[in-house]
Assembly symmetry: D2
Homo-oligomer: 366 residues x 4
């Protein structure tokens, strides 16, 4: 299938550009009978929405999603769900200055080389604005997983530049504009971002996502392993440069005698594996971590070339997130939800008639 | 598609277990007219082959691949290429002791929970033995990419436990059993591995893979980005827990003014991006890095449960790699080759008629 | 992929119900640089549009399509093209009487059994109203194929009930509401339909579709043969019960010495094969024929069951086409265009570097 | 996916040429726990096998299938099943005379134009020999469907040239070399075929396939309708030029009041629809019919061109079936089985949690 579809049984296909009339998508394969209304999706859209604090882009978009099909009398029908989000606050003229030159670190040059030309307004299709549809689609998966399987998917900002955020208070995350899990550190983040904005610079970030309550058995080895598909889905988020499952790169220096998560009837004795063994969920928490690069769109001038190959300078004056990682939490949650949903349906398609000899081991005995 | 196929236009589907009669696969979508013989694939199979030094498993497999179709008078015909590798040195009785219990950190438990039972001999389908077929299939992609596009794909061991291997001498890599890029460090690796083997323990590793000569334009946003598909393909390798593109997690603490790779007519001024912008290759080197966990199959006893859910101890006496990362280099190269090949065909399918206004910028001006 | 996507490289995914707010779709994989405007798609939408004569349903829909993405400054960008068609003339209350009972010969019962309940308004997702999006999407394929390859795709009504329409005047087809290729027979068709409408009954039809100018080489054996994919695409049209390629069922009584289309340097000496040999286009006209059943929605009462399994009677009073075959011509053309477009891209993806030793044989020497 | 894979959850990928060392395939997605041995597949392979009567090709192939993976201790494991069938009776020199010229009505010309050259020995990949793997793979689906769902899939020769075979005695079909359902007509078929062989000519045929016991609900509208996928699968069989579901082309002259299959609590009052409504199975018998063209490989000389485009004559002296339809019955059954199996898994993947308000209506009250 062409590149704008994710999933095999539960599929999400999206369209839309940063400065076109609308974004949208089609969610195909959602089981029938799920209670679903636009309001169910709005909460996560609002979490991702720009312009909610001084630390993110000042573009003002209501990001109101419309459900155009696939729901009848409040329930999903099993047919495709059409989603539409109108763009309202485009300022395309902001981009006239970059029409003929490539912003370094952006998709400008590669889109031009791939397609011969590009929609330069706000990055066109390569803009992270497209992720609004992912969040809406992921909201459907999240709702199904929560209501039918008891799966919760939650993320948080784990690191912003040099600031590592450690103790996780799940209740605090939505109470600050950073998805920071430690309320005591919010002033530190604010001070850092204010200074950064003055410099005209940007910074990277790390976001963690955790799914609890995932039943064992999800994932299709050899290639469509659950971890491989999560890596695909998370790496497809704009600006992501790395994906870890469980201990991730921490495993490089680890010894097997320590790293392997021993098992007892009372539960696993560790979760280095991040809930996935052999590409299949173990019933432990699914834990993933992503690295998001600093945006390249800066007031600070940069050397680049134009569409005629000449050396020029570029300065970006549009509205941008100085740390794209800040708004990435709901997007990462959505992508994990889409993957888990797809694999849940695929798993029960192939293995519905399996009779297990064993109750699942509890996620954790520690 | 079910889980044992990778790719859309250039597809690889594999079958086979560690202790079954044979492994095999089907490569579909290879362009016609490529000169291809079994000997072309044997070199990488030999690089991956077990039993070549005391530092890897002592299982002795010739890993001779047979091409059963798709080649006529020495040239690929455009029809599917059937590959077959016989298993010769199975010692299934080694595994009788684990038939009823789950090795921690392995796929034993998850396969059992997914499918209701499992082929316990040598890990069955979850064994890394399956990667022999990937290496053979990847060899076809590598040959096409090299001969038709001038693309070279090479990997090396970047870190083994605490030992980081830095200066890369491409010519040294195949001259030692570790794929170590720095010949001066080989004795250190040997000493480390000998000590580890005495302990009965295992260790993690990091492997880097680099593709040079990749034309700009490969990758299909939004989901099938080149980096997303590389993450999927590399994470699907047994024991991989993390994938980075370019600077990877190094981007978290980086500022945009430094991280963005500025451009000049003479070339890019950096490659933090690892050769991929907006999910599309830029013409720079494609750089990926993976973390491989230490194997969990150890002589050191571990707590676990059996198929009746009872607490038991497990000791693994089969033949295992104390560092699965050592033999991972040709596998990682193969997976990168398969992804690049697929994306090359997809790109020219959609964009063959694009007329570019610009010659590609050289990969690097530094 | 779930069931609402067709194609591999050029893909079309649709959503929408008969009485929902809108229909829509996403065309992914269209090459960049194609001049495209909404007006380009409107012509075929108007040909399919209901309410244009007394012989089709009296529902009044302007079927105005909006292009929401994928086009910039009048050219396709290579990114997904979002399409939207608002529903304007729903009369959902017409359907209250069938909410609890299944119309025989309709999807009512099977949707209910598959999904547990159904959107009964106008057939919901199973309504042929959905084909409006196919026609819009097919229009993009048609335009590309015509402008870049010189391929023309045209259909006509070949039979309406007992009336067979033989000599094909391509110029006459769009000048009557039946897509009848023989203008002299139009009054006969009108009389037949008027009588039928009085009876309250419906009738079947046969539609033929022909593509000229198709280059040899399109189609991917063994399964994704061009004829197999055409059969899939054409059988997916509502009410279609049979698909033929070339001579179709006429081959059953044919002898090989007559049926095989001999070849000379001046051209093929026949086209029994309908332009496809071994699943691959031969350069001759692609010829397909489909059978469309009579609609089951009639004023004439029928025995059926309700959602509680009780015996009831059903009468359909909504607005329906007494011969669904009449409006099927542009839909069949669209489906053929989508398949040819997808196979053209797939073919050049895999075989772009093939050097042929032979000029194509002309389509026909007779 | 490239063209040699069929299915989404239950997938079959094949490889192999007529005169290569072996044919084979991979069945991915088979549920675990199915008792499976090579002997289970051999029965249908023997039904398809050449050389069993004087009315089919005299090539002698034992067609012994080996299962190379995916089965452990007699049960499928849920992992891919590797299948291998060695070619034993190749006489490639028979084909030297056609190496440089294209047999009319064959894939010779189209393969040459698509791929630039071809494996001319016995038709290479385009040979119907490839269908042996389909029959083996279909045997797995058949066994699952029979044992788990009570579905029976059976076919028969419905017409051979002018001879129509009507009353169906299911017990007689396997007792004659024609799959003729009426034992009284077998001498007539033998006489017809003997005369035909003397002429050196070939003849077309029609084969019907029927599945009983299929539960309602299988099929994924809009595109992946059950009838659309059956049309795809059946049209992909070599020599097939037409596919009908239920009444097929008989619907063209039918009126809706007669054609619609009315329903009562005691069952459907007809099956014009062939068991599929709106692309979804209704619980009635799935009925399909295919037209197979006469083979073009004849002793009778034909005009053609050679690979340099010159006018030449061709005579085929290899071993061929004078009526390819005769051996097509088990192939058609296999393809229907593969499609039903895939759709059964897809359906339960998406709709496992549907609670139906209604017991299925019996297939037929007549």
């Amino acid at each position: 299938m062409s590149g704008n579809t994710i999933g095999k049984l539960f599929t999400v296909t999206t369209f839309g550009e940063s400065h076109g009339p609308a974004l949208g998508g089609i969610v195909d394969g959602c089981p029938p009978g799920l209670a679903l209304a636009e309001a169910d999706l709005q909460h996560d859209l609002d979490r991702r929405r720009p312009g909610q604090s001084r630390h993110t882009t000042q573009r003002r978009e209501p990001d109101k999603v419309r459900i155009l099909s696939g729901v009848f009398e409040g329930l999903t029908t099993g047919t495709p769900i059409g989603l539409l989000i109108e763009n309202e606050d485009q300022r395309s003229k902001d981009y006239a200055s970059i029409a003929d030159r490539f912003r370094p670190g952006h998709a400008d040059y590669t889109y031009h080389m791939k397609y011969g030309f590009r929609d330069y307004r706000g990055g066109g299709r390569s803009s992270a604005r497209e992720t609004a549809v992912r969040v809406a689609a992921g909201g459907i998966a999240k709702k199904y997983l929560r209501e039918r399987l008891g799966v919760e998917i939650r993320g948080y900002l784990a690191q912003l530049g040099p600031i590592r955020l450690d103790p996780v208070d799940w209740n605090a995350i939505d109470d600050n504009p950073f998805f920071c899990p430690d309320p005591a550190r919010v002033p530190e983040l604010e001070a850092y971002m204010d200074a950064l904005r003055k410099e005209g610079d940007s910074i990277g970030a790390r976001v963690n996502v955790v799914a609890t309550g995932v039943p064992p058995g999800l994932g299709e080895p050899i290639f469509d392993r659950l971890d491989a598909e999560l890596a695909y889905a998370l790496m497809s988020i704009n600006a992501v440069k790395g994906v870890e499952i469980g201990a991730g790169f921490g495993c490089v220096e680890a010894k097997g005698s320590v790293f392997r998560d021993e098992m007892t009837p009372e539960g696993f004795l560790g979760n280095s594996a991040g809930g996935i063994l052999g590409g299949i969920s173990s019933g432990q928490d699914i834990v993933a971590s992503i690295a998001l690069k600093p945006t390249s769109s800066l007031r600070i001038p940069a050397r680049t070339v134009n569409i005629r190959g000449e050396s020029v300078e570029v300065v970006t004056t549009g509205r941008h997130d100085p740390c794209v990682g800040i708004r990435a939490t709901p997007i990462a949650e959505a992508m994990m939800a889409i993957v888990l949903m797809d694999h849940y349906l695929r798993h029960r398609g192939q293995n519905q008639d399996v009779v297990r000899t064993l109750d699942p081991i509890p996620p954790s005995a520690f």
